[in-house]
């Protein structure tokens, strides 16, 4: 075994880029106080609630702030809201806003903005907010800086749903009464954050400058941020290693060169920057079609795949095998409740025989297709190629279908697939991140990131409903444990591994990662090391 490890590290070290002659020229002083970040491709617009991808979180996290933030223990902390109280029965929440906060265009930040954001804009645009805020009966702006939320029923994940990318505060005086999709400010967003939008050169870069009137004293530590378009993974690798760029996150760098980046002395590598999202890489089965609707087939599918090897070899050590819909480092995870599916091809074959799927011509028991994520041959593609190989060893022949993003979202939304690959973030609480994929109520044709599998289990619906409204954490934990037991026994979804995306930054900067939401909290705290 040592041969493999030595070979891996040897390869990584050998490949370290001798500091190239052509990179010296990029280190002028004026640039030192600017953060250089990059984007794989340009977002369609900068309306944070409307389009919630990772690159949007990194950019708009600096512009639009949320009422609360979470600390490393996922406890809500004050942000735009100075302090907050929850009534004992969990039916009323009152937030006292900071009086000294102004929007980038000089207008004051008041309770009216909060009422508009949480009452109108977020539920309409952001699928996650829509679920969480459906529990609100009424929002009242008690005075200029106090907001009271009356709930229909207790909702213990309510505070977490007001954190970072789940609920960015939007300026009412700009968006109220307009069509959120075509509002011109989607291309020059206004927020309260440490950095203001300055310029967007299409196809080249987005430039944010420091917000001189930012409410947190001494912040932001830097003069501005450049997000430059950097289309290919190897170009991003070179940009990071040559110092032309300071930050690189998750999918920017191909896992293949992960060890090389970790070994690079001038780069800090953090694996905990995205714990807040708690992303799990999964495969969704269209349970409207035989044999995917049969639990034994799904169990055989899980047993056929060696997920340890998938994480260690295919992902070069990134991530952790997922045994539950809830990430292991999140509060409600219950290791005892879950049914675990270890790599056991013999068990898989037995299950398939039990189902009557005997090996036919050429040892093939059943043929089906897997729709791939269009990642240009990166980590996802390699993963699904391994899975295809693993499944073929138990007689399941897979036809891979490559797609582009438009086709992927159209076919997944309209349930036109046997099995597809995907990854979902929990965002701190199962009620926000997990339930949407298993609730019968969330089976909505044409809309991606919903219960695409068509999984429907009355007990699961009831449990999720009860858990969300349980005031006592212990009661919620009991429901979630039962849920994990049912879902994992039922193999409601093929959970592959908990993604531990890496976040790399140049060691010339510090205070880059301040909490589990990482970049989504903005780079206000960043200063020169």
């Amino acid at each position: 075994m040592d041969w493999d490890r030595r070979a891996m590290l040897g390869a990584a070290a050998a490949g370290v880029l001798a500091h190239p002659a052509w990179a010296q020229r990029s280190g002028t002083t004026a640039r030192q106080r600017t953060i250089n970040a990059m984007m794989t491709d340009e977002p369609a617009h900068l309306n944070y609630p409307l389009f919630n991808t990772r690159i949007m979180q990194e950019i708009c996290g600096n512009i639009n702030e949320s009422l609360l933030q979470v600390d490393w223990q996922f406890k809500p902390q004050p942000n735009l809201a100075r302090d907050f109280e929850m009534s004992p029965d969990g039916m009323r929440y009152t937030f006292h806003l900071r009086p000294d906060v102004t929007w980038h265009d000089g207008m004051p930040f008041t309770a009216r903005d909060v009422a508009f954001s949480c009452g109108v804009m977020l539920p309409q645009l952001n699928p996650r907010s829509r679920g969480a805020f459906s529990h609100i009966r009424e929002i009242k702006a008690v005075d200029r800086y106090t907001v009271r939320f009356e709930m229909k029923e207790p909702f213990n994940a309510f505070l977490l749903s007001l954190v970072a990318s789940s609920a960015p505060m939007m300026p009412a005086h700009i968006y109220e009464g307009t069509d959120f999709r075509t509002n011109p400010y989607n291309f020059k967003p206004v927020g309260t954050g440490p950095f203001k939008f300055n310029r967007w050169a299409r196809g080249q870069f987005i430039h944010l400058t420091r917000n001189a009137r930012y409410w947190q004293p001494g912040r932001p530590g830097m003069d501005g941020i450049y997000y430059r378009v950097c289309p290919t993974p190897e170009q991003r690798l070179v940009a990071m290693e040559s110092g032309a760029v300071d930050l690189a996150m998750a999918d920017d760098i191909d896992t293949v060169v992960n060890l090389r980046m970790v070994a690079n002395p001038s780069i800090v590598a953090r694996a905990d920057a995205f714990n807040g999202t708690g992303e799990i890489s999964v495969m969704e089965m269209n349970q409207r079609r035989w044999p995917f609707n049969d639990r034994r087939f799904r169990a055989a599918f899980m047993h056929a795949i060696d997920r340890e090897f998938l994480v260690k070899a295919i992902n070069f050590g990134l991530g952790k095998v997922a045994h539950s819909p809830i990430p292991s480092d999140l509060p409600y995870y219950d290791d005892k409740a879950v049914t675990k599916y270890h790599h056991d091809p013999a068990r898989a074959r037995a299950l398939l025989d039990e189902m009557g799927l005997k090996p036919g011509k050429g040892g093939v028991r059943h043929r089906f297709s897997i729709m791939m994520i269009p990642d240009g041959g990166g980590t996802w593609t390699r993963g699904v190629h391994y899975i295809k190989q693993a499944l073929s060893e138990v007689g399941l022949e897979v036809k891979l279908e490559s797609t582009d993003w438009p086709t992927f979202s159209r076919r997944s939304g309209n349930w036109e697939f046997d099995v597809d690959c995907n990854s979902y973030g929990q965002y701190g609480d199962p009620a926000i991140g997990t339930s949407r994929f298993f609730l019968t109520s969330n089976i909505r044709k044409g809309v991606p990131q919903t219960n695409l599998q068509g999984y429907s289990n009355p007990e699961v619906d009831a449990l999720f409903a009860k858990a969300a409204v349980a005031v006592e954490p212990a009661e919620a934990q009991r429901h979630y444990s039962r849920l994990q037991q049912v879902l994992t026994h039922d193999v409601a979804m093929v959970w592959l591994y908990e993604r531990k995306p890496m976040f790399f930054y140049n060691k010339r900067l510090k205070n880059v990662i301040m909490g589990p939401n990482g970049p989504a909290d903005g780079f206000g705290a960043v200063t020169l090391a």
């Binding site: 490949g15 880029l17 001798a18 500091h19 190239p20 002659a21 052509w22 020229r25 990029s26 002028t28 640039r31 600017t34 250089n36 491709d41 340009e42 369609a44 617009h45 409307l50 389009f51 919630n52 991808t53 699928p127 999709r181 299409r202 196809g203 450049y226 430059r228 950097c230 289309p231 290919t232 190897e234 170009q235 070179v238 940009a239 032309a244 760029v245 269009p374 582009d404 993003w405 438009p406 086709t407 992927f408 979202s409 159209r410 939304g413 309209n414 909505r444 044409g446 809309v447 991606p448 990131q449």
Partner: protein, 325 residues
């Protein structure tokens, strides 16, 4: 048939070809499953019916195909190539913004290819059958057989990864914001690797073409006459052999234009050169139909103008050819 009316005729032909290009690509893109509305909805993050219906109305996708085609043709006539879905910008602006980069790269590549090709060709033709001749032939067949994208990656591996001499990606150092002469030098340094990679493939064909043309011309009678006149061997080679040997090169350059654009798609992709090549690849993978259509039209017009230029150059190089005969 004077030159002017010939050029007029060729311009008419260019217009006809462009219309043909529009028709072909317009219906080709209809070939793809799912229409543009689903594509755009996919981009915006969700695809519920209402949103898609509003999109179809907005972009006139719900009208019958002939109407759409006619509207598109009249728009193109006025230079309006429609909006790019992905980039939310007029297609023409997007293309014109990136066209100079591709033309710069292709011009540099063509220069290197013709320059190198003719030199190697002449060297090989000086002593047919010699070791020099054989090595040029085999080398040119080698570069003719190498996949361009792989050649680019190898060049990057050697000159950027191992030797660290040349920057591997992009058109200028990221974020360096040079100006004036420094910027030109920076771009020039960035252009070496992609330019030479693109050039080598064509240099191979130019070398072989020059070599065979030189050898064939050297056997012609008028070369014997020239020697019979007692003029110096250098003058024979230069004024008689080379001048006649260059004629096939001109037509060959015309044929190469379209292949050059195709080649640059690959090379630009490998080196992340912000040109029309990467734009075309992006347009194909994100199914940005108007942008794709626009790229077809612009490249078709450019290539046919380039061909017109080579035809005129040909008629200058070879007096026997009357334009339009």
């Amino acid at each position: 048939m004077n030159r002017l009316s010939y050029i007029g005729a060729r311009l008419v032909k260019t217009v006809l070809i462009t219309v043909a290009v529009v028709l072909l690509s317009f219906f080709l893109i209809r070939l793809a499953p799912g229409d543009t509305a689903t594509v755009m909805a996919g981009q915006a993050g969700f695809a519920d019916e209402a949103f898609m219906k509003s999109l179809r109305a907005e972009y006139g996708l719900d009208q019958p195909v002939p109407v759409q085609l006619w509207k598109y043709l009249t728009a193109v006539a006025q230079g309006d190539l429609g909006m790019s879905f992905v980039r939310r910008q007029p297609v023409l602006d997007v293309i014109l913004e990136r066209l100079p980069n591709t033309m710069l790269l292709n011009a540099f590549a063509l220069l290197v290819a013709i320059g190198g090709g003719v030199l190697f060709g002449m060297f090989a033709a000086r002593r047919p059958g010699s070791a020099g001749d054989a090595s040029v032939t085999v080398l040119s067949m080698l570069f003719y057989a190498v996949p361009q994208f792989w050649l680019g990656m190898m060049a990057m591996l050697v000159f950027s990864v191992w030797l660290g001499w040349l920057p591997p990606f992009g058109i200028e150092t990221m974020g360096a914001d040079y100006t004036g002469l420094a910027r030109i030098a920076d771009i020039a340094v960035h252009m070496i690797l992609p330019g030479v990679t693109l050039a080598l493939y064509f240099m191979a064909s130019y070398a072989r073409l020059t070599r065979t043309a030189m050898i064939e011309v050297a056997d012609q009678d008028f070369v014997k006459t020239a020697r019979a006149k007692g003029i110096s061997e250098g003058q024979v080679a230069h004024r008689h052999i080379l001048r006649n040997a260059l004629i096939p090169l001109v037509t060959f350059a015309g044929l190469q234009a379209a292949i050059l654009v195709g080649g640059s798609v690959l090379v630009e992709n490998v080196f992340s050169w912000p040109g029309v090549g990467t734009l075309a690849y992006e347009a194909v993978t994100t199914r940005d139909n108007p942008l794709l259509l626009g790229i077809f039209i612009v490249t078709a017009v450019l290539v046919s103008l380039f061909n017109l230029a080579t035809d005129i150059a040909y008629s200058i190089a070879d007096p026997r050819v009357e334009l339009g005969r």
